[in-house]
Homo-oligomer: 123 residues x 2
Protein backbone atom coordinates (compact mmCIF):
# COMPACT_ATOMS: atom_id res chain seq x y z
CA UNK A 1 0.00 0.00 0.00
CA UNK A 2 1.16 3.54 -0.66
CA UNK A 3 0.95 6.32 1.95
CA UNK A 4 -2.55 7.42 0.95
CA UNK A 5 -3.89 3.87 1.03
CA UNK A 6 -2.42 3.30 4.50
CA UNK A 7 -3.85 6.66 5.62
CA UNK A 8 -7.32 5.87 4.31
CA UNK A 9 -7.24 2.50 6.08
CA UNK A 10 -6.26 4.20 9.38
CA UNK A 11 -9.24 6.54 9.02
CA UNK A 12 -11.59 3.65 8.17
CA UNK A 13 -10.47 1.49 11.11
CA UNK A 14 -10.18 4.22 13.75
CA UNK A 15 -13.70 5.42 12.83
CA UNK A 16 -14.80 1.90 13.84
CA UNK A 17 -12.46 2.11 16.87
CA UNK A 18 -10.93 -1.14 15.58
CA UNK A 19 -7.61 -0.46 17.30
CA UNK A 20 -6.11 -3.92 17.30
CA UNK A 21 -7.16 -4.56 13.71
CA UNK A 22 -5.46 -1.30 12.67
CA UNK A 23 -2.22 -2.21 14.46
CA UNK A 24 -2.14 -5.74 13.02
CA UNK A 25 -2.88 -4.61 9.48
CA UNK A 26 -0.87 -1.40 9.20
CA UNK A 27 1.94 -1.20 11.78
CA UNK A 28 5.55 -2.22 11.38
CA UNK A 29 6.79 -4.59 14.10
CA UNK A 30 9.38 -1.97 15.12
CA UNK A 31 6.86 0.90 15.31
CA UNK A 32 7.89 3.91 17.41
CA UNK A 33 4.86 5.50 19.10
CA UNK A 34 5.28 8.90 20.78
CA UNK A 35 2.75 10.58 23.07
CA UNK A 36 2.94 14.18 24.25
CA UNK A 37 3.68 12.92 27.77
CA UNK A 38 4.25 9.55 29.41
CA UNK A 39 1.72 8.12 31.84
CA UNK A 40 2.80 7.74 35.45
CA UNK A 41 6.37 8.76 34.85
CA UNK A 42 6.81 6.38 31.91
CA UNK A 43 8.62 7.44 28.75
CA UNK A 44 6.34 9.08 26.16
CA UNK A 45 8.09 6.94 23.53
CA UNK A 46 7.15 3.27 23.13
CA UNK A 47 8.74 0.82 20.73
CA UNK A 48 7.38 -2.32 19.13
CA UNK A 49 4.01 -3.59 18.06
CA UNK A 50 3.30 -5.24 21.45
CA UNK A 51 3.63 -1.88 23.20
CA UNK A 52 1.11 -0.34 20.79
CA UNK A 53 -1.32 -3.20 21.37
CA UNK A 54 -0.83 -2.53 25.09
CA UNK A 55 -1.81 1.12 24.62
CA UNK A 56 -4.95 0.02 22.76
CA UNK A 57 -5.82 -2.40 25.58
CA UNK A 58 -5.36 0.38 28.13
CA UNK A 59 -7.60 2.77 26.17
CA UNK A 60 -10.35 0.19 25.61
CA UNK A 61 -10.25 -0.92 29.25
CA UNK A 62 -10.25 2.53 30.82
CA UNK A 63 -12.42 4.72 28.59
CA UNK A 64 -16.13 4.86 27.94
CA UNK A 65 -16.23 6.60 24.56
CA UNK A 66 -19.27 8.78 23.85
CA UNK A 67 -18.10 10.02 20.46
CA UNK A 68 -14.99 9.65 18.37
CA UNK A 69 -14.62 11.88 15.32
CA UNK A 70 -11.89 11.21 12.77
CA UNK A 71 -10.90 13.91 10.21
CA UNK A 72 -8.54 13.60 7.28
CA UNK A 73 -6.32 12.11 6.15
CA UNK A 74 -3.86 14.80 5.02
CA UNK A 75 -1.19 13.10 2.90
CA UNK A 76 2.14 13.91 1.22
CA UNK A 77 5.15 11.74 0.44
CA UNK A 78 5.76 9.27 3.31
CA UNK A 79 3.74 11.23 5.87
CA UNK A 80 0.07 11.60 6.80
CA UNK A 81 -1.93 13.38 9.49
CA UNK A 82 -5.29 12.44 11.02
CA UNK A 83 -7.26 14.52 13.53
CA UNK A 84 -9.14 12.88 16.38
CA UNK A 85 -11.85 14.57 18.46
CA UNK A 86 -12.85 12.48 21.43
CA UNK A 87 -15.61 12.77 24.01
CA UNK A 88 -15.08 10.11 26.70
CA UNK A 89 -15.40 9.29 30.38
CA UNK A 90 -12.50 7.84 32.35
CA UNK A 91 -14.00 4.72 33.97
CA UNK A 92 -11.78 5.11 37.06
CA UNK A 93 -12.27 8.77 37.90
CA UNK A 94 -15.74 8.97 36.29
CA UNK A 95 -14.55 12.26 34.79
CA UNK A 96 -15.88 13.12 31.34
CA UNK A 97 -13.49 14.97 29.05
CA UNK A 98 -13.17 16.24 25.49
CA UNK A 99 -9.85 16.01 23.69
CA UNK A 100 -8.60 16.99 20.24
CA UNK A 101 -5.30 15.76 18.91
CA UNK A 102 -3.59 14.93 15.65
CA UNK A 103 -1.58 11.85 14.81
CA UNK A 104 1.44 12.40 12.55
CA UNK A 105 2.30 9.10 10.87
CA UNK A 106 5.36 8.03 8.87
CA UNK A 107 5.06 5.16 6.38
CA UNK A 108 7.86 2.95 5.08
CA UNK A 109 7.40 -0.05 2.79
CA UNK A 110 3.63 0.13 3.22
CA UNK A 111 3.72 0.02 7.04
CA UNK A 112 3.51 2.69 9.74
CA UNK A 113 6.96 2.96 11.32
CA UNK A 114 6.35 6.04 13.49
CA UNK A 115 3.36 7.80 15.01
CA UNK A 116 3.36 10.98 17.08
CA UNK A 117 0.33 12.37 18.90
CA UNK A 118 0.04 16.14 19.38
CA UNK A 119 -2.78 17.54 21.52
CA UNK A 120 -4.48 20.82 20.76
CA UNK A 121 -2.49 23.48 22.62
CA UNK A 122 -4.19 25.48 25.33
CA UNK A 123 -7.08 23.00 25.43
Amino acid sequence: MNTEEVANKVVELTRKQAWHEAVDALYDKDIVSVEASGMGGESPEKRGIDAVHGKADWWIGNMEVHSFKVSGPFVAHDRFVVQYDVDATDKNSKKRFQMSEVGVYTVKNGKIVREEFLPLAGA
Copy 2:
Protein backbone atom coordinates in the same frame (compact mmCIF):
# COMPACT_ATOMS: atom_id res chain seq x y z
CA MET B 1 10.79 30.42 22.48
CA ASN B 2 9.66 26.88 23.15
CA THR B 3 7.69 24.84 20.62
CA GLU B 4 4.29 26.00 21.85
CA GLU B 5 5.33 29.67 21.79
CA VAL B 6 6.62 29.33 18.21
CA ALA B 7 3.42 27.49 17.26
CA ASN B 8 1.18 30.18 18.76
CA LYS B 9 3.12 32.85 16.92
CA VAL B 10 2.72 30.98 13.60
CA VAL B 11 -1.05 30.86 14.20
CA GLU B 12 -1.16 34.55 15.13
CA LEU B 13 0.84 35.70 12.09
CA THR B 14 -0.72 33.38 9.49
CA ARG B 15 -4.19 34.51 10.64
CA LYS B 16 -3.03 38.00 9.64
CA GLN B 17 -1.47 36.50 6.46
CA ALA B 18 1.75 38.19 7.60
CA TRP B 19 3.90 35.70 5.69
CA HIS B 20 7.18 37.59 5.53
CA GLU B 21 6.95 38.65 9.17
CA ALA B 22 6.43 34.99 10.17
CA VAL B 23 9.44 33.85 8.16
CA ASP B 24 11.71 36.60 9.52
CA ALA B 25 10.67 36.06 13.14
CA LEU B 26 10.39 32.29 13.34
CA TYR B 27 12.36 30.50 10.61
CA ASP B 28 15.88 29.16 10.74
CA LYS B 29 18.11 30.39 7.92
CA ASP B 30 18.56 26.76 6.79
CA ILE B 31 14.82 25.96 6.82
CA VAL B 32 13.74 22.98 4.71
CA SER B 33 10.26 23.52 3.25
CA VAL B 34 8.48 20.57 1.62
CA GLU B 35 5.31 20.78 -0.49
CA ALA B 36 3.23 17.80 -1.60
CA SER B 37 4.38 18.43 -5.17
CA GLY B 38 6.72 20.83 -6.94
CA MET B 39 5.39 23.53 -9.23
CA GLY B 40 6.24 23.26 -12.92
CA GLY B 41 8.58 20.32 -12.50
CA GLU B 42 10.52 21.92 -9.64
CA SER B 43 11.52 19.91 -6.59
CA PRO B 44 8.89 19.89 -3.83
CA GLU B 45 11.72 20.53 -1.36
CA LYS B 46 13.18 24.03 -0.96
CA ARG B 47 16.07 25.02 1.28
CA GLY B 48 16.91 28.31 2.92
CA ILE B 49 15.05 31.32 4.17
CA ASP B 50 15.26 33.13 0.79
CA ALA B 51 13.40 30.27 -0.91
CA VAL B 52 10.62 30.50 1.68
CA HIS B 53 10.34 34.26 1.19
CA GLY B 54 10.10 33.48 -2.54
CA LYS B 55 7.18 31.12 -1.93
CA ALA B 56 5.43 33.83 0.08
CA ASP B 57 6.00 36.36 -2.72
CA TRP B 58 4.53 33.91 -5.24
CA TRP B 59 1.45 33.29 -3.08
CA ILE B 60 0.83 36.98 -2.42
CA GLY B 61 1.36 37.88 -6.07
CA ASN B 62 -0.79 35.15 -7.57
CA MET B 63 -3.71 34.65 -5.18
CA GLU B 64 -6.73 36.71 -4.29
CA VAL B 65 -7.61 35.29 -0.89
CA HIS B 66 -11.32 35.34 0.06
CA SER B 67 -10.92 33.58 3.40
CA PHE B 68 -8.07 31.99 5.28
CA LYS B 69 -8.92 29.90 8.36
CA VAL B 70 -6.16 28.76 10.71
CA SER B 71 -6.82 25.95 13.26
CA GLY B 72 -4.59 24.71 16.06
CA PRO B 73 -1.82 24.59 16.98
CA PHE B 74 -1.38 20.94 18.03
CA VAL B 75 1.90 20.67 19.94
CA ALA B 76 4.19 18.01 21.41
CA HIS B 77 7.95 17.95 21.97
CA ASP B 78 9.72 19.63 19.01
CA ARG B 79 6.77 19.32 16.62
CA PHE B 80 3.56 21.20 15.94
CA VAL B 81 0.72 21.02 13.42
CA VAL B 82 -1.50 23.82 12.07
CA GLN B 83 -4.48 23.35 9.74
CA TYR B 84 -5.18 25.86 6.97
CA ASP B 85 -8.50 26.16 5.10
CA VAL B 86 -8.24 28.50 2.16
CA ASP B 87 -10.76 29.95 -0.26
CA ALA B 88 -8.93 31.83 -3.01
CA THR B 89 -8.92 32.77 -6.69
CA ASP B 90 -5.85 32.26 -8.86
CA LYS B 91 -5.29 35.68 -10.44
CA ASN B 92 -3.93 34.13 -13.66
CA SER B 93 -6.54 31.48 -14.40
CA LYS B 94 -9.34 33.36 -12.57
CA LYS B 95 -10.27 29.99 -11.09
CA ARG B 96 -11.65 30.00 -7.54
CA PHE B 97 -10.69 27.04 -5.37
CA GLN B 98 -10.96 25.76 -1.82
CA MET B 99 -8.06 23.92 -0.22
CA SER B 100 -7.44 22.31 3.16
CA GLU B 101 -3.98 21.31 4.27
CA VAL B 102 -1.92 20.89 7.40
CA GLY B 103 1.58 22.15 8.05
CA VAL B 104 3.82 19.87 10.13
CA TYR B 105 6.58 21.99 11.68
CA THR B 106 9.78 20.99 13.46
CA VAL B 107 11.42 23.41 15.92
CA LYS B 108 15.06 23.50 16.99
CA ASN B 109 16.61 26.15 19.25
CA GLY B 110 13.44 28.25 19.05
CA LYS B 111 13.35 28.35 15.24
CA ILE B 112 11.42 26.40 12.61
CA VAL B 113 13.93 24.16 10.83
CA ARG B 114 11.49 22.09 8.76
CA GLU B 115 7.95 22.48 7.47
CA GLU B 116 5.93 19.97 5.46
CA PHE B 117 2.56 20.70 3.87
CA LEU B 118 0.06 17.85 3.48
CA PRO B 119 -3.18 18.45 1.53
CA LEU B 120 -6.44 16.81 2.48
CA ALA B 121 -6.54 13.53 0.54
CA GLY B 122 -9.27 12.99 -2.02
CA ALA B 123 -10.10 16.69 -1.97
